[in-house]
C-alpha cells in the first residue's frame, strides 16, 4: 500500500482538460473540430501521464478543495482506475480521429449539409463532456459524486444517441433515458442507505462490507441493480441494441466501447471491496452466462450489421460479469481477467462499430446480405472489422485470448470450472455470428457497379489502428497486468 502523502495534481488533469474542452467547443462554433482534436490529444497526454505515474509512484490521491474524505471529496487513482482512464484515452483518441473524417465526409454540398453541420457542432462538446465524466467516474472516491458523474454520462450519452434525429433513434434515446434515470435513482436510494449505515460517502469505506447488516445488504442490492440496469446486463439489456445500432457511427462506438464500461467498473468497485461470500457472486455470473448465450443467439439472427454488433455487445457484457465469483479470493486472477476483457473488448468493439459505420456511409445501408463485395471498395475497414472479430472470438495472439486464458485458469484454480466451460462455449458461439458477418464482408463477390469512394482515409485507418491494438494487447499483456497490480 503506497500512498503519496500530498495531493498529486496529475490525478485531476484527465478530468479538467476535457471539461475545459467542452466549454471551448461550445463557445467556439466556427471550427469545433479543431479545438476538439486539440483537447483530445491533451487529454490523452494527461491520461498517459496518470498511467505512468501510477506505475512509477503507486496510488495517487487528490483531496479536492484540500478537505480530506469524510467531509470533502477525494479522487483516487489506483491501478484499475488508471487502466480504465488509459483505455478511454486510447479508444477515445481513435474515435475522435474517426469522427473528424466522418463529419467531413458527410458534407457533400447537398441540402442536408446545414443539418449535418449542426450535428457536428453538437457532437464535439457532448463527446468531450462524456469523456470528462467517464474519467471522473473512474477516479472518484465518493459515492454521491459518482451519482452526479453517472448522470453526466447518462445525459450526454442520450444526447449523442438522439443526435441522428431519425425517429427510431429518438425513440431509442427516450427509452435509454428512462432506463438510465431509473438506474441512477435506484443507485441514489442505495447511496442513501449507505449513508444511513456508515455515516460517510467515501467509496473506500462503504465498499468494505464488514458486517452484513440489513441496511448494508439493501444498499448493495440497490446500487448493484441500478448499475446493472445501466450496463445492460442480461434481463436489463432490452434498451441497448436499438440505441447503439441507430446512433451515428462514432456514437455507436462510444456507447458500446466506453459508456457501458463506466457502470460496469463501478459495479466491480462495490463488489471487490471484499467481505462478500463467493456464493453471492454467482448471481451476476449466472446473469452473465445467460447474456453470453442469449446475446450470441440474437446477434446471429440479425439482418443488419450494426444490430449484429450491438447484440454482440450484449453478449460481451456477460463476460464482464462472469468472473464475479472469482473476486471473493483477493489473491486470484479474477479481476485481471475482468479488466482484460474490458480493455480488449473496448478496442475491438470500437473498431468493429467504426468499420460498420464506414460501410454504412459508403453503401447507404448495412444489410449483411448486401454487403458482399465491400472488401474491394474498403479493404482497410474490412480488414479492421475482421481483426476485431478475431479478438472477440478470443483467437490466440489477441487480447481476447489472454482474457479468456486468465479467466479459465482462475476458474480452475478456484474449483469453479463451470465458469471456464461457459467462457469456452461463449467463444464458439461468438465464432458463429462473427463468421456470418465477416464472410459477407470479405466475400470475393464482385460489386456490380463501383461507386465513388466517399469516406475519408482517416475513417478507415483509425478503425484499423484500434483493431490492431486489440490484437497487440495479447502480446503486450505484462504492461496492463503490471498496472493492475498497483492497488
Amino acid at each position: 500500500m503506497s500512498l503519496s502523502p500530498a495531493s498529486s495534481s496529475w490525478v485531476i488533469w484527465p478530468v479538467v482538460v476535457p471539461l475545459l474542452g467542452t466549454v471551448v467547443c461550445f463557445l467556439y462554433k466556427k471550427k469545433p473540430c479543431l479545438a476538439a482534436h486539440f483537447f483530445a490529444v491533451v487529454t490523452c497526454g494527461t491520461s498517459t501521464v496518470l498511467g505512468w505515474q501510477v506505475l512509477d509512484q503507486g496510488v495517487g490521491r487528490h483531496l479536492l478543495g484540500g478537505w480530506s474524505p469524510p467531509l470533502g471529496i477525494s479522487l483516487r487513482a489506483d491501478g484499475p482506475a488508471a487502466l480504465m482512464v488509459m483505455m478511454t484515452a486510447v479508444t477515445g483518441l481513435g474515435i475522435t480521429l474517426y469522427s473528424g473524417g466522418y463529419f467531413q465526409s458527410r458534407l457533400t454540398g447537398g441540402s442536408q449539409d446545414r443539418r449535418f453541420r449542426a450535428q457536428e457542432q453538437s457532437f464535439w462538446p457532448l463527446w468531450l463532456l462524456l469523456w470528462a465524466a467517464l474519467n471522473g467516474l473512474f477516479l472518484s472516491g465518493d459515492i454521491f459524486n459518482i451519482y452526479i458523474s453517472l448522470e453526466l454520462v447518462a445525459l450526454s450519452s442520450v444526447g449523442l444517441t438522439a443526435l441522428s434525429g431519425k425517429p427510431p433513434s429518438l425513440v431509442a434515446a427516450m427509452r435509454y433515458l428512462l432506463v438510465s434515470l431509473l438506474g441512477s435513482l435506484t443507485f441514489l436510494l442505495g447511496v442513501g442507505f449507505f449513508y444511513k449505515a456508515h455515516g460517510t460517502l467515501e467509496l473506500a469505506v462503504v465498499s468494505r462490507v464488514l458486517a452484513p447488516t440489513p441496511p448494508v445488504i439493501m444498499a448493495l442490492v440497490l446500487v448493484s441493480v441500478g448499475l446493472m440496469l445501466k450496463t445492460a446486463l442480461f434481463p436489463f439489456h432490452f434498451w441497448l441494441p436499438p440505441a447503439h445500432a441507430n446512433a451515428l457511427a462514432p456514437v455507436s462506438a462510444i456507447l458500446s466501447a466506453l459508456v457501458v464500461k463506466g457502470s460496469w467498473y463501478l459495479c466491480y468497485r462495490f463488489w471487490q471491496g471484499g467481505g462478500l461470500p463467493a456464493v453471492v457472486g454467482v448471481v451476476p455470473a449466472l446473469l452473465g452466462s445467460a447474456a453470453i448465450i442469449w446475446g450470441a443467439f440474437q446477434a446471429f439472427s440479425q439482418q443488419r450489421l450494426k444490430m449484429l454488433v450491438a447484440y454482440s455487445t450484449v453478449a460481451q457484457i456477460g463476460y464482464l460479469f462472469v468472473a464475479f465469483p472469482l473476486l471473493a479470493d483477493p489473491a486470484g486472477q479474477g479481476s485481471d481477467a475482468l479488466f482484460y476483457f474490458a480493455i480488449s473488448h473496448s478496442c475491438a468493439k470500437a473498431a468493429m462499430f467504426l468499420a460498420a459505420g464506414t460501410f454504412f456511409l459508403q453503401m447507404g445501408h448495412d444489410r449483411i446480405r448486401d454487403l458482399a463485395g465491400v472488401r474491394q471498395l474498403l479493404p482497410v475497414s474490412s480488414f479492421a472489422f475482421a481483426l476485431g472479430g478475431l479478438s472477440l472470438m478470443g483467437l490466440p495472439p489477441s487480447g481476447g485470448f489472454i482474457a479468456k486464458y486468465l479467466l479459465v485458469t482462475a476458474a480452475i484454480s478456484q474449483d469453479l470450472w463451470w465458469l471456464g466451460l461457459i467462457a469456452v462455449l461463449g467463444s464458439g458461439l461468438t465464432a458463429v455470428y462473427v463468421f456470418r458477418a465477416v464472410s459477407s464482408v470479405l466475400s470475393p463477390h464482385l460489386l456490380e457497379e463501383q461507386p465513388a469512394l466517399v469516406v475519408a482515409a482517416s475513417m478507415q485507418w483509425s478503425a484499423l489502428a484500434l483493431a490492431l491494438l486489440a490484437i497487440v494487447l495479447g502480446i503486450m499483456a505484462p504492461l496492463p497486468l503490471a498496472l493492475l497490480e498497483v492497488t
Binding site: 479538467v16 461550445f26 469524510p70 445525459l155 450526454s156 444526447g159 427509452r175 449505515a197 456508515h198 441496511p215
Partner: protein, 243 residues
C-alpha cells in the same frame, strides 16, 4: 400524448404480479429503513468543526461551495449539458402558437413581479452566506423571471446577442474551472481557497452560479436556439423540414 396508448414502451397494461412484487419491495425497504443506523448524525459534527475555516456561516452553503465544491462544479456542467442537448434537439417545426400579446393581467403581473423577483434573488444571494438561501435559489428566481418574460412572448432571449447568451450560460462552469486551475498552479489541490480569500471567492462563485443557473433555466424553458426561431413574424417558411 393526445391519443392515449398510441405509444407505449411496455405492452403490459395491468401486470398484477409486478404490483405484488413492488409491494414486497416496499415492505423490504420499510423494514430496512426502521433498522437504526450505526452512525446517527452523519457528518454534522465534522461540518461544524470545519465551519470556521470555510469562510461562510451557513452550513449548507459551506458544504455546497467549499467542502463539496467539486459536486457543484459538475452540477453546473449538468445544467450546461441540459442546454446543449435541448439545443441539439431543436424542433423541426416551430409552429408554436405565439400569442400576439399577453393579456392585461399578465402584463401588470409582470410589471409588478419582475423587479420584485430580481430584488428577491439579490436578497437570497446575500442571505445565503448566513441563513437559508444561496446561489441555487437566487438562480431559480432569476430563471423564473426569465420564464415570465418568455410567457409574454418577450423575445429577450432572441434580442440578446447569441454570443452574450452563450457566454452567460458558460460563465459559472468557466469561472469554477478557472478558480480550480488557479489553485492547481499555486500548488494547492483543485478548488482550494484559503480562509482569507474564501469568503470573497465563494461570493464571486455564488454570483456567477446564480447568473448562469438563471440563464440556463430560462433557456431550457425557451427550448430553442436563439437566432434560429422561425416564426411567421419573420416571414420565413414556418417549417424547416428534415431538421
Amino acid at each position: 400524448m393526445v391519443n392515449p396508448g398510441r405509444k407505449r414502451l411496455s405492452p403490459a397494461h395491468r401486470p398484477w404480479p409486478l404490483l405484488v412484487l413492488l409491494l414486497l419491495f416496499f415492505v423490504a425497504l420499510v423494514w430496512v429503513y426502521l433498522v437504526p443506523g450505526s452512525a446517527p448524525g452523519g457528518l454534522a459534527r465534522q461540518v461544524d468543526a470545519s465551519l470556521a475555516a470555510s469562510g461562510v456561516r451557513s452550513r449548507v452553503t459551506a458544504v455546497l461551495l467549499n467542502f463539496r465544491g467539486y459536486d457543484t462544479l459538475l452540477e453546473c456542467f449538468i445544467l450546461l449539458l441540459g442546454v446543449m442537448v435541448v439545443w441539439s434537439q431543436r424542433s423541426a417545426v416551430t409552429t408554436e402558437p405565439r400569442q400576439p400579446a399577453a393579456g392585461a393581467i399578465l402584463a401588470s403581473l409582470e410589471r409588478l413581479l419582475l423587479p420584485l423577483m430580481i430584488l428577491v434573488a439579490g436578497y437570497l444571494l446575500w442571505a445565503g452566506s448566513s441563513q437559508a438561501g444561496g446561489a441555487f435559489q437566487a438562480g431559480a428566481i432569476l430563471g423564473g423571471a426569465g420564464v415570465l418574460l418568455l410567457l409574454d412572448s418577450s423575445p429577450f432571449l432572441g434580442i440578446l446577442p447569441r454570443k452574450a447568451l452563450v457566454w452567460g450560460i458558460t460563465l459559472a462552469p468557466l469561472f469554477f474551472l478557472a478558480v480550480g486551475v488557479a489553485a492547481l498552479t499555486l500548488g494547492r489541490p483543485f478548488l482550494t481557497y484559503r480562509f482569507q480569500e474564501a469568503s470573497l471567492v465563494i461570493v464571486a462563485l455564488e454570483v456567477a452560479a446564480a447568473f448562469s443557473i438563471g440563464l440556463c433555466l430560462a433557456t431550457l424553458f425557451a427550448g430553442r436556439l436563439p437566432g434560429y426561431q422561425v416564426g411567421p413574424s419573420q416571414g420565413k417558411p414556418p417549417a424547416k423540414r428534415g431538421e
